[in-house]
């Protein structure tokens, strides 16, 4: 159901909202995996490479989905994944149980790594449509199985006008900058900044309220 201006070929993938029309098999992190990851991270902090390998096997496909959304070029996505896992190895000791769930902590590292890499290579999102089309689709999980917190976030996002939702999602999933959004929406970057911040404030009020 991609909509309004309808130009975001990239959003056919890497956006949970497209998924509303999709049904399929989901594979999310289940609670046992979170628990196992919680037990692996202290081992990894102590240099246990076997534990690290296990963590890689449990999480790499999930983290690869995250970086693939930001980086359409496969070689960049692969580099980001590799760098993200090296960071996980280096930072395992700073993981604080109870602060973020392990999967969230890992996904944040992967996403930040991918966005850094995207900025560094200044990969333009003005990529040709066929390139975006050609990118493997990264569908999202069926709604029925979505975690509660995603359902809530989705409800809160729905409070925003559609173009604002898209801006937030393009930024989050695909790492679009203010300038890229400005070009896409034909608004000044300062306006985009204002719109983004207002939108995020709405989200926060809804989520925390």
């Amino acid at each position: 159901m991609f909509r309004s201006s309808g130009v975001y070929l990239g959003l056919k993938t890497c956006n949970y909202s497209t998924y509303w029309a999709v049904s399929g098999v989901m594979s999310s992190f289940s609670e046992p995996i979170e628990i196992e990851l919680d037990s692996l991270l202290p081992l990894i902090a102590n240099g246990d490479r076997k534990a690290f390998g296990r963590l890689y096997d449990l999480t790499s496909s999930k983290l690869f989905a995250v970086v693939r959304c930001v980086l359409k070029k496969p070689e960049l996505a692969e580099e980001a994944l590799q760098e993200a896992f090296i960071k996980v190895w280096q930072r395992a000791g700073s993981y604080e149980a109870g602060s973020l769930r392990p999967t969230a902590w890992l996904a944040a590292i992967a996403r930040n790594q991918a966005i850094d890499l995207k900025r560094r290579f200044a990969e333009r999102m003005s990529a040709r449509a066929e390139e975006l089309d050609a990118a493997d689709s990264v569908p999202v999980m069926p709604e029925a199985e979505l975690a509660m917190d995603l359902s809530r976030l989705k409800k809160c996002l729905a409070l925003l006008p559609e173009d604002r939702q898209d801006m937030v999602l393009l930024a989050y999933y695909q790492g679009w900058t203010r300038d890229e959004l400005a070009a896409q929406y034909k608004r000044p970057a300062t306006t985009i900044k204002t719109l983004l911040r207002r939108s995020l404030t709405v989200l926060k009020d809804c989520l925390d309220g």
């Binding site: 995603l150 989050y172 926060k204």
Partner: protein, 234 residues
């Protein structure tokens, strides 16, 4: 930037990833020296992360696993933060081995300072490292000897600039300067700050780039280049 709302909006955009480079750098530096702001950023990451977790997994090419395992093969874990190095006679030798993994050549180990009345005999070590494979500092506090030491693992000496070491958090209202790391990567004992050992575990150490001689304001003014946490080495 004074209003909490503005801070939170900056944190929100930082977490979303849309800040232009200069503002992003500002936010990063703010994160290192302002625990409240860092908390706001974390809260935003937490609010948004369900989106990332909603993605369907995509198998990565198998060669990535091999490349990752190879990359960490010679590397001590926790090089950014916490390294459980053993104490006693081997402590410094092991520390050197860990640091060697980061950079082949080391500046001479530099021993500085004698703060008064060491309250315990614990020893702490942290590697302060930038994002990526950049240069790093190794900082340690030995409460038994009452010493703080800093050495570089490759940070360049920059003309007209000084590196300044800060302690952040751990009950401090604002970052505390521990002194300027001079051109030969020492912290002169005369400039050395005092550390409250009780708060060490919650303290983040950071190195910022300042005008020559250190921050003119008493607070970090330049970009925060390196951060790390100390850990007791038993």
């Amino acid at each position: 930037m004074a209003r909490p709302d503005d801070m939170d909006e900056l944190a929100a955009e930082f977490a979303l990833g849309t800040l232009p480079p200069a503002e992003k750098q500002e936010a990063e530096s703010l994160m290192a020296r302002d625990a409240e702001f860092a908390g706001m950023v974390k809260a935003w990451e937490r609010r948004l992360i369900p989106l990332a977790l909603a993605l369907e997994p995509v198998d990565a090419p198998p060669r990535i696993r091999g490349a990752v395992m190879k990359a960490i093969a010679g590397d001590a874990p926790g090089s950014e933060t916490v390294v459980a190095w053993k104490r006693k006679a081997s402590a410094w030798r092991l520390a050197t081995v860990g640091a060697s993994a980061i950079a082949a050549s080391l500046a001479a180990f530099i021993f500085v300072g004698k703060p008064a009345s060491p309250p315990s005999d614990q020893r702490y070590v942290a590697v302060l490292q930038a994002e990526g494979p950049g240069p790093a500092f190794l900082a340690s506090i030995d409460l038994a000897n009452g010493s703080i030491s800093v050495r570089t693992v490759g940070a360049p000496s920059l003309p007209g600039k000084s590196y300044e070491l800060w302690a952040v958090g751990g009950g401090r209202d604002k970052p505390q300067s521990l002194g300027v790391i001079d051109a030969s990567f020492r912290i002169p004992a005369s400039k050395l700050g005092k550390i409250d050992p009780a708060a060490l575990n919650d303290t983040l150490f950071a190195v910022s780039l300042e005008p020559e001689g250190g921050s003119p304001t008493g607070q970090a003014t330049g970009p925060v280049l390196f951060t790390g946490k100390l850990v007791a080495t038993e």
